[in-house]
């Protein structure tokens, strides 16, 4: 934690806000703000992870049966898509740092494309669940059997619980992705307008952080939800 900031002598940038001494202080401040916000997001998702873990322990067999019914291939595809999108986002930040305006827009567009792909796959998965009557509260009916006991039916309420938490968690994640797409759109427009340069690219950097965070949440969601007891 540095002692109070020592001003950097340089001409004022048009994006320098009045309460900051120089661009460096402004950038550091914005960065710290975004990191803190991501910490709150960890706590936010944490509550749902907690609920999930407790019920998974309590109703393991039913949860395992339910988990088999969501398609691991779509999940894996989405994981790959998001990882690539994080890569393109990191590249976008790098371009912003180096002042490469056109390439910045290209990478942002790709990131947005991959994000949209993720959401498209998710929509397909949700639709599949709708067709199979696996949506809680909507004529829910799970036709499976307990793992390892092909004759014994699952407990409908417990499998419904899995799907409740599945939709709550992936839904909340998808909402964050949608917000992320909105932020991407803003960045693309702002980049085209030439708002960013080597001394000012804070929004790109911080929205990048947000994007990576949403990616990391998915990295946890995928194994927890899709990979229970899969052979």
């Amino acid at each position: 934690m540095s002692d109070s900031h020592v001003a950097v002598a340089e001409p004022a940038h048009r994006e320098l806000r009045h309460h900051f001494v120089d661009m460096e202080q402004q950038a550091n401040t914005a960065s710290l703000g975004m990191w803190l916000f991501l910490v709150t997001e960890i706590m936010f998702f944490g509550g749902m992870f907690c609920a999930y873990l407790i019920y998974r322990l309590k109703y393991f067999n039913d949860f395992a049966a339910a988990s088999q019914s969501i398609d691991v291939r779509w999940g894996a595809l989405n994981t790959a898509v998001l990882l690539v999108s994080s890569f393109t986002m990191a590249m976008a930040v790098r371009c912003a740092q180096l002042g490469k305006q056109k390439l910045l827009v290209v990478f942002l567009l790709f990131t947005m494309l991959f994000g949209a792909t993720f959401l498209g796959v998710k929509a397909k998965e949700y639709y599949d669940k709708y067709e199979e009557h696996h949506i809680p509260g909507l004529n829910f009916n799970f036709d499976g059997k307990l793992l390892g006991h092909p004759d014994y039916p699952v407990n409908q309420r417990h499998t419904e619980m899995f799907f409740s938490i599945y939709f709550a968690m992936t839904g909340m994640h998808a909402l964050h992705m949608i917000i992320g797409l909105g932020l991407m759109a803003y960045l693309i427009i702002a980049s085209i307008q030439g708002k960013f340069d080597t001394r000012y690219y804070t929004p790109v950097e911080n929205i990048g952080l947000y994007w990576h965070f949403v990616d990391v949440v998915w990295i946890y969601l995928f194994p927890l939800l899709y990979l229970i007891s899969r052979k």
Partner: protein, 541 residues
């Protein structure tokens, strides 16, 4: 706000711009603090009206003033409004917003626009809550326990939950703003060890806001989802666990009470230092005790659940940990007391509120020990003993500290002095009214009167009557300052820059301050509470 109420010659943040738009679109932390003052005070009124109705009903053993359902909405409304819309924001969003940048020598908070957003989120949440109140209210209690709230209570639960959810983000953004501000915006020379204790307190509070509030947010989301889609996460009939709700709820709601008390403790430190004209005794310990309370506060939530059906071992652990929080709190009380030793004490209104705080917080805190003790808690939990305990710390603590701080910084905020005689009188009335209201409730609790009861066995009546009498007096003690503070805006003595001859950067600028806080960028080359360096004679009034 169109007319200047403060006839200062100099331009200050109040008269720099005029018009409604200049207030509603302001990013000046000081104006945002005033905006908060309006809405928070408004909700304090609402919560107070609820309290009045509750106490009126409880004058007689029978349920004869209102119907049972109505009473249940009254105490629920009182709790939700007071906890979420008054106690959580009152000191941080009003005094904190105003003072944090000035005390560290900055021109504004780190994120002024997010600060304005915080206010709007509060207003939207408040509007939603007001709608809930006006269309019938909720009857779940502010604790929203399941399965009552998800499967039995009125549908207003969803709206009330959403109101609390949105309000939570107001809180989160304020806390985020404070933390980043303290890290990145300190003036040259303002090291961590030179930060006033009010800053330390708000910093620790902000840590709790940022880490704890998201958990209540997700809990409310799950509650609403369960209510609307019958998901079954908390409802045993659908395979869920009602205790899971309680754990998630209290994981935030316990640290929340430290969000309420820590900034208040910061205020008390400032008051005692100024009116003893001394650096707070054990400065380091008081500063670090705030952080200790913030950390420990996250480890004790299940002491609200000793009879809920947890395992014995969990209960033992939580009881043990709960005692530890008493230590940093006690450290503060001892250090405040020791500060007066060889000090130079005067008894202006803010100091009277500080004395009141020490008295009432001590009692409130000590009764916390009673509740931490398992054998006793089993008997008194869910009774009026708990009600008395938390009102001692919340009202006797937080409200006293807020009023003390409001009087102390009133000249800085408004450029006017409040009438000192009235101030002292109001403090006294409030103190007497408070004790009469809540001390009998300790007795009521131990003899077994449960909380949230609108009818009770006749032998409990006398204690209830005493309590209601006290509540009336307490109400006067609160209305009185509202009247004379408003009066002072027009007729109060014009305040000098430093009427108390207090230490601290906020007293080095004008009363009221200019929009960018200082006429010259401050450089800090002195320790906090450098009363030994300040001249003895207060400024001319």
């Amino acid at each position: 706000m169109a007319t200047a109420v403060v006839p200062q010659q100099r331009t200050n943040y109040l008269n720099a711009e005029h018009g409604v738009k200049s207030w509603l679109l302001t990013t000046d932390h000081k104006r945002i603090a005033i905006l908060y003052m309006f809405v928070v005070t408004f909700f304090f009124f609402i919560g107070g009206i609820y309290a009045l109705l509750i106490r009126l009903e409880l004058l007689t053993p029978a349920g004869d003033l209102v119907q049972a359902d109505t009473y249940n909405r009254l105490f629920s409304g009182h709790g939700i409004v007071m906890v979420f819309f008054f106690l959580i924001p009152v000191v941080p969003a009003i005094l904190g917003n105003f003072l944090v940048p000035i005390m560290i020598g900055a021109k504004d908070l780190a994120f002024p626009r997010i600060n304005l957003l915080s206010w709007y989120l509060y207003v939207i949440a408040g509007g939603l809550m007001l709608h809930v109140i006006l269309t019938g209210g909720v009857d779940t209690g502010w604790t929203f326990y399941t399965p009552y709230s998800t499967a039995f209570a009125s549908p207003k639960v969803v709206e009330a939950g959403m109101a609390a959810f949105i309000n939570g983000f107001s809180s989160i953004f304020t806390g985020l703003n404070f933390i980043v501000t303290v890290h990145r915006m300190r003036a040259p020379g303002m090291t961590w060890s030179r930060l006033p204790l009010f800053i330390w307190a708000n910093y620790a509070t902000s840590l709790i806001m940022v880490l704890g509030t998201p958990v209540i947010a997700i809990t409310l989301v799950l509650l609403v989802l369960e209510r609307v889609f019958r998901l079954g996460i908390f409802d045993p009939k659908l395979g869920g666990d009602p205790l899971l709700f309680q754990h998630l709820f209290w994981f935030y709601s316990h640290p929340a009470v430290y969000i309420m008390i820590l900034p208040s403790m910061g205020v008390i430190s400032e008051l005692i230092a100024c009116f003893s004209r001394k650096r707070i005794f054990g400065f380091q310990f008081v500063a670090l005790s705030s952080v200790a309370i913030a950390v420990l506060g996250f480890l004790v939530w299940a002491h609200h659940m000793f009879v809920a059906g947890m395992s014995v071992y969990a209960a033992l652990i939580f009881s043990f940990l709960t005692f530890f929080i008493g230590v940093p709190s006690a450290i503060k009380v001892f250090n405040w007391t020791a500060t007066m030793y060889k000090g130079s004490v005067t008894y202006e209104t803010p100091m009277l509120y500080a004395f009141g705080f020490i008295g009432l917080f001590t009692i409130g805190g000590l009764t916390g020990l009673f509740l931490a003790t398992l054998g006793v808690d089993i008997h008194v939990t869910d009774t009026y003993f708990v009600v008395a305990h938390f009102h001692y710390v919340m009202v006797g603590g937080v409200v006293m500290a807020y009023l003390g701080g409001l009087h102390f910084w009133w000249p800085k905020i408004t450029g006017r002095m409040y009438p000192e005689g009235m101030g002292k009188l109001a403090a006294l009335i409030g103190f007497i009214g408070f004790n009469l209201t809540f001390f009998p409730q300790f007795i009521l609790g131990y003899v077994g009167m449960p909380r949230r009861y609108y009818q009770y066995p006749p032998e409990f009546q006398m204690l209830n009557v005493l309590s209601t009498a006290g509540a009336t007096i307490l109400g006067v003690g609160y209305l009185f300052p509202m009247v004379y503070m408003l009066w002072s805006l027009r007729y109060g003595e014009i305040a000098p820059d430093n009427p108390w001859n207090a230490a601290g950067l906020e007293w080095k600028t004008t009363s009221p301050p200019p929009t960018f806080n200082f006429h010259e960028d401050p450089i800090v080359d002195f320790e906090a509470y450098n009363y030994d360096e300040l001249k003895d004679i207060p400024d001319e009034r």
